[in-house]
């Protein structure tokens, strides 16, 4: 059976698995941002924590994903069979690019701008909200984009622990030694990565204060 025949007969399941896949990656990216951005901000304030946080995130990034899923399985709360465990693992991989880009985005701001902000009497919180985060936003979003694209790839392996997603076809195809089935999972996964990459790239350009046109909507309010 050709991949097209297989895909046509299983269009419904492919659609369902794609949505499931998107759900895993979306949840992981969302949690990754919720943890990673504050963490990235925190280490711009505490140089000593920086080494530890970036070090740990770096090491976690190097753990092979299949092994990480395996390690998580026996853990209470974080582990077990299913989507929850998969999201935990995906968050682990999302953290490094998000934390690192938040940190880099803030620390590479022109020191004169920071100096002016402090000198005019902004509190630390105001500097963060009005100056640092808006200026770092394109870099932070680039990190989110990296995390998302990596997540789409890694999420295919989550099928191994019963989390579903497009990886289901891939593992099924491997077991059946049937390339058509593998491709029914792999091609939509690749397409999903490309689409998400493109969408996030557009958002990134919208928040880029360096872009020349359409700056009228940058009012502080």
């Amino acid at each position: 059976m050709s991949v097209f025949e297989y895909a046509a007969r299983n269009a419904g399941e492919i659609a369902f698995r794609t949505v499931q896949h998107l759900g895993l990656v979306g949840a992981a990216t969302f949690i990754g941002v919720a943890i990673g951005v504050p963490l990235g901000v925190a280490i711009t304030r505490r140089p000593r924590a920086r080494v530890i946080v970036l070090g740990v995130a770096n090491v976690l990034q190097t753990v092979p994903s299949l092994a990480l899923f395996g390690f998580l399985l026996p853990l209470p709360l974080l582990g077990g069979i299913g989507a929850g465990t998969a999201v935990v693992a995906l968050v682990v991989y999302a953290l490094l690019p998000i934390v690192r880009n938040t940190f880099v985005g803030i620390t590479t701001i022109d020191p004169a701008v920071r100096d002016a902000a402090v000198g005019m009497g902004m509190t630390d919180r105001q500097i963060l909200r009005l100056v640092e985060l808006p200026l770092a936003m394109p870099v932070i979003l680039a990190g989110v984009r990296t995390a998302t694209v990596i997540g789409v790839g890694i999420a295919t392996i989550a099928a191994a622990i019963g989390a579903g997603g497009l990886g289901d076809f891939i593992f099924r195809g491997l077991a059946m030694v049937d390339n058509a089935v593998i491709l029914a999972g792999a091609v939509p996964a690749a397409a999903l990565a490309l689409v998400l990459d493109g969408v996030l790239h557009l958002i990134e350009r919208r928040v880029d204060w360096r872009r020349p046109a359409g700056r009228g909507d940058h009012a502080l309010t």
């Binding site: 100096d115 002016a116 005019m120 009497g121 100056v131 200026l135 700056r215």
Partner: protein
């Protein structure tokens, strides 16, 4: 009103355990323009940053409007002082109007007052608001950005202005033009100004009083006329640049 807007009383400052300034005794009268002149590393910027408490003295005290900076709330202190730095430190993600209106916004003015104030200030610094208010900083020339920096520093009507080589990066003609306008502006608004420069022409053009810093110690503090007449070798060296 106290006669002295800023007072340095036996002030010393260290950086990395090394003394970079002091002892400095200097009273800056309300409504005067004092220029700190000196070479790189002479302690000019350090002196300036002691006033808005970006640095604290290791010895002595800096008094602003009659109160030692260490007794001020740092944020309140900074909001009563306008601060202009080289290239303005303009926020690149905000429009010209939002840059100028930011301190009034921080202290809680309403939108209408901020808009009025912003327009008036842009007019004052020679940037017609109709043409410039919505522009982004990167669309401005260096001179125009510096005007925005001055307008922003004046926004909440602080009694004191600190200027750290604000015109240092400009071409000579634009610089002279801005110096002239700046001088007129602070005279008209009766601001107390502490101005840092290594440019002797700038010092002579702006100052009511010139303070020469050498190796962190003031070696001359008098009028521009006295500066022109002085026989000090280091001052003669500066005068040779004229």
């Amino acid at each position: 009103m106290t006669a002295s807007a800023i007072g340095f009383r036996g002030v010393c400052a260290e950086r990395g355990g090394k003394r970079v300034l002091g002892p400095l005794d200097l009273e800056i009268e309300t409504g005067t323009v004092v220029v700190l002149l000196g070479r790189s590393g002479s302690g000019k910027t350090t002196t300036l940053r002691l006033v808005n408490r970006l640095l604290e003295p290791t010895d002595g005290a800096v008094h602003v409007l009659g109160t030692a900076t260490t007794r001020w709330d740092a944020v309140d202190l900074r909001r009563s002082i306008g601060y202009v730095i080289q290239d303005g430190g303009i926020f690149p993600h905000l429009s010209v109007a939002d840059n100028v209106g930011i301190v009034p916004r921080l202290v809680g003015w309403d939108d209408a007052s901020i808009a009025d104030r912003t327009s008036a200030l842009l007019e004052l610094v020679g940037l017609p608001p109709g043409q410039f208010a919505r522009r982004a900083p990167h669309e401005l020339s260096g001179g125009q950005r510096q005007r925005v920096g001055v307008a922003r520093a004046l926004a909440a009507d602080p009694p004191i202005l600190l200027c750290d080589e604000p015109f240092g990066a400009l071409d000579p003609i634009t610089r002279a033009e801005l110096q002239r306008e700046f001088r007129d502006l602070v005279e008209q608004l009766e601001k107390t100004v502490l101005f840092v420069t290594h440019d002797v022409r700038e010092a002579l053009a702006l100052a009511d009083r010139i303070v020469l810093l050498e190796g962190g110690v003031p070696t001359f503090a008098d009028s521009p006329e006295a500066f022109r007449a002085s026989d000090r070798p280091s001052i003669r060296e500066f005068r040779m640049l004229l």
